[in-house]
């Protein structure tokens, strides 16, 4: 039985109906005539790659954005949801990807904040708050210690608190945005138990994800999105991760990069059994080893937050590893400073452009000299060489097509694409032997993407070793010579582009190792 598309009369049986939703952002059509049908009491998954428009759609349902056009019906009644308050009043609750919790307050305090029970004037009735929270927690099997401080409890429990917050406010429809992105596998399992309990209690759950095995294990129906459009809807019973991957990624690769065969040379970057912790002091990179050779692009594919950021930062010297060894050209750089590492011939296109790669109050030419501001060709004897700074900046701005061709305006005044071209120009003009490239095309338009891709391939042909991290599978597939798939701080396997099916890659991104997958297919 395929997915049933309800008629207007049947809308009453649906907790949520979104019809013809259009949402245009300055540079992208985020939702293009999207329809969504969520039955009362079901768990409905919305899947798609990053940027497919899933979160945008849900943010409109929760009133954080307003649609350009389209209708929203809750339990069959047409609703205008202008802000989160309207959503809460319509019985909708949302758990955001980034939790909105107050660390030093207790679980109970966090849940009742804004709707606190009081006695005699303004005295906070903590006892009643705890009792109410305990009751809800018992009702739905969401076990929490009401007296614990948020900062002392694990992320999985924090998420439970977020869910309790929505239930305390009377939510009947729960939206969870990438709820498993920050969870360990065990926590994910626990979350699924909670979601099933909520379903049993009559709640409707919508959850956004791009991990397909999760969809299979917990949802009733799936809506698949790609590039702002719905590309499929199907009851979960009747589909497989394979089929979902096809719908999610699409068959045709959109960006074709012209790339000739090129032989990799000697190793330039070697990583041995590296462990790195993230800002929460949890292990983010879990004992990985790899070798990058000159003249190759080694792509690291994976869902965001699986340790890629920490890996790159530790190689660049911005984050101290817990253990393991990193060597560049055979020299141990595990505990070297960013400057020492750069001096050895490593350059770095940072993932977070605004935090790391750009000083927005500096002019374009000053941004271009960052990292080489103390030495030739830009400085000698501690003095900046103004003429060389300007000439080289001008040359680079020309060569890398940074617009406007103006080296004295502030970097912050360039458009995103031109900022990134500026960063790329700077990092390539280093004449690096090894380059870390993280999310090089995020948020850029097609033209800039093509330019950056072409440039990276040219560098490879000049025998630079490039370590590429991207959440865009397409990008990894079209640029890389070899691909490592990263999940939970570990590599699931190494493949060559074209050698593996998209399904296989998708499954590895979701935590299956290559060995397991190949083992299974051999048995068949």
């Amino acid at each position: 039985m395929p997915f049933h598309i309800p008629s207007e009369e049947e809308y009453g049986e649906y907790a949520v109906v979104m019809k013809g939703i259009m949402k245009q952002f300055p540079k992208v059509l985020a939702n293009d005539n999207v329809d969504l049908f969520v039955k009362k009491g079901e768990i409905h998954a919305i899947v798609g790659e990053n940027g497919a428009g899933k979160s945008t759609l849900m943010n409109q349902l929760y009133g954080l954005y307003n649609a350009d056009s389209g209708r929203i019906l809750i339990n069959g009644a047409e609703m205008e949801i202008k802000n989160p308050k309207d959503a809460i009043n319509s019985g909708i609750g949302m758990v955001h990807q980034h939790f909105m919790l107050v660390g030093p307050l207790t679980v109970a305090e966090n849940i009742v904040l804004g709707n606190e029970p009081v006695k005699k004037g303004d005295i906070f009735d903590l006892k009643k708050a705890k009792a109410e929270v305990k009751k809800i927690s018992n009702d739905y099997g969401l076990e929490v210690d009401v007296n614990a401080l948020i900062e002392d409890i694990p992320v999985g429990t924090q998420q439970r608190v977020e869910i309790l917050k929505t239930l305390y406010r009377g939510a009947e429809i729960l939206i969870l945005d990438e709820p498993t992105a920050v969870l360990t596998p065990q926590e994910t399992e626990e979350l699924f138990v909670v979601l099933r309990n909520l379903q049993k209690a009559g709640k409707t759950v919508i959850f956004i994800t791009h991990k397909l095995n999760e969809v299979i294990s917990v949802s009733n129906n799936v809506t698949v999105m790609r590039m702002g459009k719905v590309t499929g809807r199907i009851p979960t019973m009747e589909t497989s991760t394979k089929e979902l991957a096809n719908m999610m990624v699409g068959r045709e690769v959109l960006l074709r990069v012209k790339k000739d065969e090129h032989d990799a040379k000697e190793p330039v970057l070697e990583i041995d059994n590296l462990c790195v912790k993230d800002n929460r002091h949890l292990m983010a990179v879990n004992g990985i080893s790899m070798t990058l050779r000159k003249g190759e692009i080694l792509g690291i594919a994976g869902v965001a937050g699986n340790g890629q950021t920490e890996l790159i930062e530790s190689v660049a010297g911005l984050r101290k590893p817990v253990s393991g060894k990193i060597s560049l050209k055979g020299i141990d750089i595990t505990n070297s400073s960013p400057r020492e590492i750069r001096e050895l011939g490593l350059s770095h296109i940072a993932e977070d452009r605004f935090k790391y790669a750009l000083i927005k109050d500096f002019s374009v030419s000053y941004n271009i000299i960052l990292g080489r501001h103390y030495r030739e060709p830009f400085a000698a004897n501690g003095l900046l060489k103004k003429r060389d700074v300007e000439n080289i900046s001008k040359k680079l701005v020309e060569e890398y097509d940074v617009r406007p061709r103006e080296i004295h305006i502030d970097g912050g005044n360039l458009s995103g694409g031109n900022q990134q071209k500026m960063v790329v120009a700077r990092e390539i003009d280093y004449n690096p032997e090894c380059m870390l490239v993280a999310q090089p095309t995020r948020g850029l338009d097609i033209g800039a993407i093509e330019f950056i891709h072409k440039t990276l391939v040219e560098l490879r042909d000049k025998d630079v070793g490039i370590l590429l991290v991207s959440m865009e599978l397409e990008e990894i597939l079209s640029l890389s010579d070899r691909i490592l798939i990263m999940y939970e701080g570990e590599f699931m396997g190494e493949i060559k582009p074209g050698e593996s099916s998209l399904e296989e890659i998708g499954l590895m991104m979701a935590g299956s190792t290559l060995k397991e997958l190949r083992g299974i297919s051999n048995e068949k």
Binding site: A316, L318, S337, P338, R339, R342, E343, H348, A350, K355, Y356, A357, L358, I359, K360, D361, F362, Y366, I369, L370, G371, H373, Y374, A379, G382, L383, L384, K386, I409, D410, N413
Partner: protein, 355 residues
Amino acid sequence: MKNSKWIKVLIPIVSVFIALLVASIIILIIGEGDLGQRFNFLVNAYSEMIRGAFGSSSALMNTVIKMTPLILTGLAVGFGFRAGVFNIGAEGQMTMGALISTIFAVNATQLPSFIAIPFTIIIGMLAGGIWAAIAGYLKAKTGAHEVITTIMLNWIAYNIANWAVTGPFNDGSGTPKSPEIAESAMLPNLLTSQATFLSFGIFIAIIAAIVIYFILYKTSMGYEVKAVGFNPYAAEYGGISVSKNIILTMAISGALAGLAGTLESIGLYYRFYGTLSSGKGFDGISIALIGQNNPIGIIFASLLIGGLRTGSNQMQFAGVPKHIVTIIQSIIIFLVAGERMITTLLRIDRKKGVK
């Protein structure tokens, strides 16, 4: 885009204007009689002030004498701001600079001037620099806020100086002051007019401004300082050590304040009185903000504040307490801190669009 530079100049000018306006209202309020009389009182007060600051050659000289340390404390605070540190302790660094350099200068009797003067200056700068570097070190290593630590260092410096000039470093007169410095360590005078004399100190201050300008705009070091101030993460990414630069910036900032104190000792008083600074460190804050942390702007801002300070002495005779200058300064600082008040007032914000 060009607009933002224009706004940068406009904000301090408008702030100064508003501050003067508020001061006028205060003067009107404390005046006596009907509105006409009060208005005369106000006009009289301001004309006295201008006369006191610029009205005669000795008035002008006094203004320049006041300017000298102000340029340096303004540079000290402004340079710190460039790296994102707020050196509110120029006061104490000036005191330490003056104290230590005076100790040297008093004992420099055997040295010829061309050695005694530069050495005294270098020692004063070192003393101020080290004093400030304590706060820099604490900020870089433990995260202690430099505003609290430098204020505490101010009080410590004040008490040390007080102890020195009443005890071991007293000139024997019983009043709190040091012995006179050796003649060879005295800065030669540039001009004398009646009882007023102007030393070469002003040149040294202006040279310091030029050097700081040079460091900020022409050297890799200045580049690093500014990078740390604008975006410490990007600085780190670009191979710039943030903690090293914070300590270094504080040290340079303190050295400038130390120089201010030294010049007061060897160019004006020829001895050390223990409490010489009388708010010049705090003046440095308003000067840096008015000059928008630009050394050339700071010279002009010092002229303004120095003029106000000198003129306010004359203004006292017209019946307006000289503290009016402190009030004016506080309003300027307040408005520059909340610069959005000015941009909102002028409705520039809306045109700037998103941010």
